[in-house]
Amino acid sequence: MIGMEAQYEDEAREGPRHAVIMLGLFFLLLMAFGLSLSLGSVHIPLAALFGILTGGEVSSAAWAIIVHTIRLPKAITAVLAGAALSVSGLQMQTLFRNPLADPFVLGISAGASLGVAIVVLTVGSVGSVLIAGLGLMGDLSLAVAAIMGAAAVLGCVLLVSRSVQNVMTLLILGLMFGYATGAFVSILIYFSVPEQIQSYILWTFGSFGSVTWRQMPVLISAIFVGLLLAFLCIKPLNALLLGENYARSMGLNVKRIRLWVLISASILAGATTAFCGPIAFLGLAVPHLCRSLLHTSDHRVLMPAVTCLGATLALLSDLIAHLPGSQFVLPLNAVTSLIGAPIVIWFVLHRKNLSQAF
């Protein structure tokens, strides 16, 4: 009986344990944010950083410019993108009950790639009219193209999802959309000159550094709407853990919720891809890490945890990609996967609870 009571007490502590981990994750996020402002090709001490951010005494005008025009927008973008991709990945993994699902399973990044490929790769051949137009649109053109590409694929998927009974059918259709779109990109690349191909490839590496203050409100509002929808879907996502039949028997309108989850995940992944390029791995790995760390599949706990950890890991990946103290910058996508894969492998092998998650 004593053992039983001890076990009950043990379980009663689960709530506080989650709270402690959440607090830790939030603290980690703050640290990562500070570090990403402080470290880079030029090191800015934390004390000076505080002055710059609070509008107090500025010890170096150059530092203030670096922080304001480069590092702050980049850090904010990383936080938004990391949170967006991770939440979107969590939604997809639960909706499809599939551990391999990520934000891009429904072909959203493929659609964005097609949009960008069309702009970048056809500029030369279409001629000077379009180049002049591009100049007018300035740096927004890539984002606009990516958004339109992602929206086109997303529209197809949502249209199909209304008439699809089985969620697995939808998954397969999404993959097919992705392949078909990818094929168009291949054809475009095949008929392009090397310089254009290089600028396209550069986009596919991903970067948090290309969002300007002018574009920031667009990105912030898109991600805010996406996250709001995602948090509103927490309870239905928990019900969907039991499968669609049980969820329906508990009063869930499965088709409607599926649509909302898809819209939310697509806004999150689409906006991020449009502004930062197709950033791999975070959306797949962060939900797994959080499930394993917090030992739960409850979205009430997972959703905030995934938001925090996703933002933190995006900041850290960007930090590593910029190799602080050097002039070199590595491709962001190479860093997320290179650093992320060993971490996930370690988790899979050392914490045996990942296999129970699906």
Partner: protein, 330 residues
């Protein structure tokens, strides 16, 4: 008033423009409070299809299902969920979740937007776990449960939904006999003590006959019949529904008998009690016709531990039923 009532219900499947496949038709049944009803029928008769139609998971091909007097087709999912809860045959993989949290998911139709619990919700969940006799499982991980334990937990989840009607699709499949009896007794008790209606489909004829207040008998082809188990035995409905080459339903014992009348040797068994009963069973199994008088062989088990066999004036003794049958076969 009936909790659930069907009218001219036809169930089956529609395939776009092709003609629909009707599995069962002209079903007129009703379920009342405090009733424990078993749906029986051979494989392919449409038990699962009927259950899926009754809970609103698939539309009827014809006729109506009325829930508390209201057509289920006009009700929203949440309205249905407040009356019916289900235990399905779906394999569940909920991920990393404690049993108590899984049972708590049953509160879904009663909680707010994020699913936070009031004291009432906590109380109902505790009650559901106790009622399903799953107290010792409450803080186990769902992924680590055995089939029988998981079935109890799913019943607790269905109870936590506080339905008026619980519908279970083959809840005793894959369980061993003691576990099946335990689940059936539990459900029968729940129906009577909580004044819910419980409908379950099963292949467990023997247990259903012993536990059910009423039986819905769905034959392979033909109309669904309802009644007390004993009525359906006496009017020959069971024999009709489960007719097949290999087995027949024996209305005297309420059990299936293998049609193993291969031999034509006749045996008479003299004696009473348990040994006599099992000796007769063994002889029938071995293909002998067991009679009371006028048989070629006479088995006497009245004395001692041995089986004495008399045949044409010669008496032999055997130590076990195994030897006895070997001896009779020569």
């Amino acid at each position: 008033m009936a909790i659930l009532k069907t009218q001219n219900l036809a169930v089956g499947y529609k395939y776009g423009r092709r003609p629909s496949r009707v599995v069962a038709r002209d079903i007129d049944v009703s379920l009342h409070r405090g009733e424990f009803v078993c749906l029986l029928g051979p494989n392919g008769a449409g038990k699962s299809t009927l259950i899926r139609t009754l809970v609103g998971m698939q539309p009827p091909l014809d006729g109506q299902v009325y829930l508390m007097g209201q057509d289920i087709a006009d009700m929203s999912a949440i309205e249905v969920a407040q009356v019916i809860s289900v235990v399905l045959t779906d394999r569940i993989s909920v991920g990393i979740m404690a049993v108590r949290d899984l049972v708590g998911l049953g509160r879904y139709p009663h909680t707010d937007w994020i699913g936070s619990f009031t004291e009432e919700d906590e109380r109902v969940v505790s009650w559901a776990i106790r009622a399903a006799r799953a107290e010792d499982l409450a803080y186990r991980n769902v992924a680590e449960l055995s089939d029988g334990e998981r079935q109890k937990v799913m019943i607790a989840r269905a109870l936590a939904q506080e339905p008026v009607l619980m519908i279970l699709d083959e809840p005793t499949a894959f369980l061993d006999l003691p576990r099946r009896a335990e689940i059936m007794a539990l459900l029968q008790d729940l129906a009577h003590s909580t004044d819910k209606a419980i409908l379950l489909s099963t292949h467990d004829l023997d247990l259903a006959l012993r536990c059910a207040d009423r039986i819905f008998l769905l034959p392979f082809e033909g109309a669904l019949q309802t009644g007390a188990p004993e009525d359906l035995i006496l009017n020959g409905a069971f024999e009709g529904a489960f007719q097949s080459d290999g087995v027949r339903f024996d209305a005297d014992t309420g059990a299936f008998k293998l049609n193993a009348q291969r031999g034509c040797s006749t045996v008479a068994v003299s004696g009473e009690g348990r040994r006599a009963y099992w000796t007769k069973r063994a002889l029938e199994r071995a293909g002998f016709q067991v009679r009371d008088v006028g048989a070629e062989w006479c088995v006497d088990i009245r004395e001692g531990d041995a089986w004495c066999v008399e045949h044409g004036g010669v008496v032999r003794e055997y130590d076990s039923i195994c030897d006895l049958i070997a001896g009779l076969r020569g």
